[in-house]
Amino acid sequence: MIGWIDTILQGVLLGGLYALFALGQSLIFGVMRLTNVAHGDFIVLAAFGAFALASQAGVGPFGAFAILLPLAVAFGYALQRLVINDTLGKDPLPSLVVTFGLSIIIQNVLQEIFSADPRSIPAGELTTASVQLAGGLAVGTLPLAIFVIALAAAAALQWLFARTALGRVFRATSDDRETAELMGLDARGVYAAATALAFALIALAGLLQGMRTTVAPADGPALLIYAFEAVVIGGLGSFWGTFAGSVILGVTQGIGFRLDPGWGIWLGHVVFLAVLLVRPAGLFPRMR
């Protein structure tokens, strides 16, 4: 019994990490209806950036993040302005092809520079620290911190979208780009702001993924799948839905791994397909 509680608890915490993958994807899809195929690769790229900074510059993981964050935001903004904006339109194919191309480029460049070896961002004592719970259960401090950070990120995004002028602009542009432009908005600039914000999440996700486990140059597509599954399970258009979808995916994978070490990822896919079949709009579709 205690073993099952432990499994579910660890799955929930894993879901927190997945939420960080998925929130950025959800944000970009929500604002510009773009499926960024390179999303996972950008997370891996950020992880290697943090790894290089932390190990070469000797600034530690949090110093590395302080350097990485503004770079990632600027990169996201420029990427949207210079590349992705021109691929958006009624036809989803150009943006899919271009982000797919970016995915391949990132994987190969990383492999060229860092080799195919999995790397980990040294996190010192955080790697092994844990918190004792009742009944002999223990959770890792780092996974717990990641879960709390993801929860805070989901809350912050939900607040930003529901309560601020920027969120209003994001929703309006998502609803009807042409009319938003009639109101005096520059949709390309709005998209660039959204992508810049998504890249802040990507930097965060990359750092924490690299600290919690290992990253290798070819990991991106798997991370993309988890993000994608979490977004679809949760339902499009709500960040809480995305968070819940991530936790469901994490718990499902945890249960799968417990049943059979080869079943974890597979069971996640099964639940994703089941949700798609039974509730194509997701379990928690947009509130408004």
Partner: protein
């Protein structure tokens, strides 16, 4: 009229290979209310879309406040003072009534219109300010669409078929608000299917047929015969 706020000069407009406007000369003076009438597909909405920047046009073919503006981006035109109530209202479904109105203020122009002024113009909207805009009745949605355009504090307001699909009593209610809207000197272009209503509210009227101007004149002076000829044919005779 040399002091035209808005004018088009031999304006053509196309949707891909389909040409919708042919050499339109159109003029609106500052403070004037001009109605554009014509059958479905005559090019009325196309004319508004071209002026508001949603359709491309040669730079010199459209002039506003003395400057050539053809083909400028809609956002730039909004900042210069052109606002539109689009056909079908086009409210933002994920925004509340108040948020929709605030989107109108996005162009950053100052003037008499702000939330409080709008609540006075359309008091029933105030009680529904927090509701999703698309949950309102058709007439109230149209008020939101008009209010959203006013929030931009435009010099020129263009309304595309605001009576479409609304009950006559609701249409009357909306048009009753027009005098207080234009009181501050706002210039207004209304596209309207209801010819009687169009003549009633406007100083001058243009009739389009198949992308050409077939009639122009003072609303009080054009006769029913003029209009039915301009509407249904005999374009060469009426246009001159």
């Amino acid at each position: 009229m040399s002091t035209a706020l808005l004018s088009t000069h031999r304006l053509d407009a196309c949707y891909g290979d389909f040409q919708a406007l042919f050499g339109i000369d159109f003029e609106v003076g500052e403070g004037e209310v001009v109605a554009v009438i014509g059958a479905n597909g005559a090019g009325k909405s196309t004319l508004l879309k071209t002026v508001s920047g949603l359709l491309k046009a040669p730079r010199e073919a459209v002039r506003f406040a003395g400057e050539p503006i053809g083909g400028l981006r809609p956002g730039e035109l909004a900042r210069r003072g052109i606002a539109m109530v689009p056909e079908g209202r086009r409210l933002f479904p994920s925004l509340s009534v108040e948020e929709n109105l605030l989107m109108g203020a996005q162009s950053g122009r100052r003037g008499p219109w702000h939330l409080d002024a709008l609540w006075r113009l359309f008091p029933m909207l105030r009680d529904k300010r927090a509701q999703p805009a698309t949950s309102l009745s058709g007439g109230q949605q149209q008020m939101v669409a008009i209010g959203r355009a006013l929030m931009a504090n435009p010099r020129l307001l263009m309304c595309d078929e605001i009576s479409l699909g609304l009950a006559p009593i609701v249409v009357k209610e909306i048009y009753d608000a027009l005098p207080s809207i234009v009181a501050g000197g706002l210039t207004l272009v209304v596209v309207e299917q209801d010819v009687g209503l169009a003549r009633l509210v406007s100083h001058r009227v243009y009739c389009l047929q198949e992308g050409r101007v077939t009639l122009r004149g003072a609303s009080a002076e054009v006769t029913r015969d003029d209009i039915s000829r301009a509407y249904f044919g005999a374009r060469a005779e009426a246009a001159r």
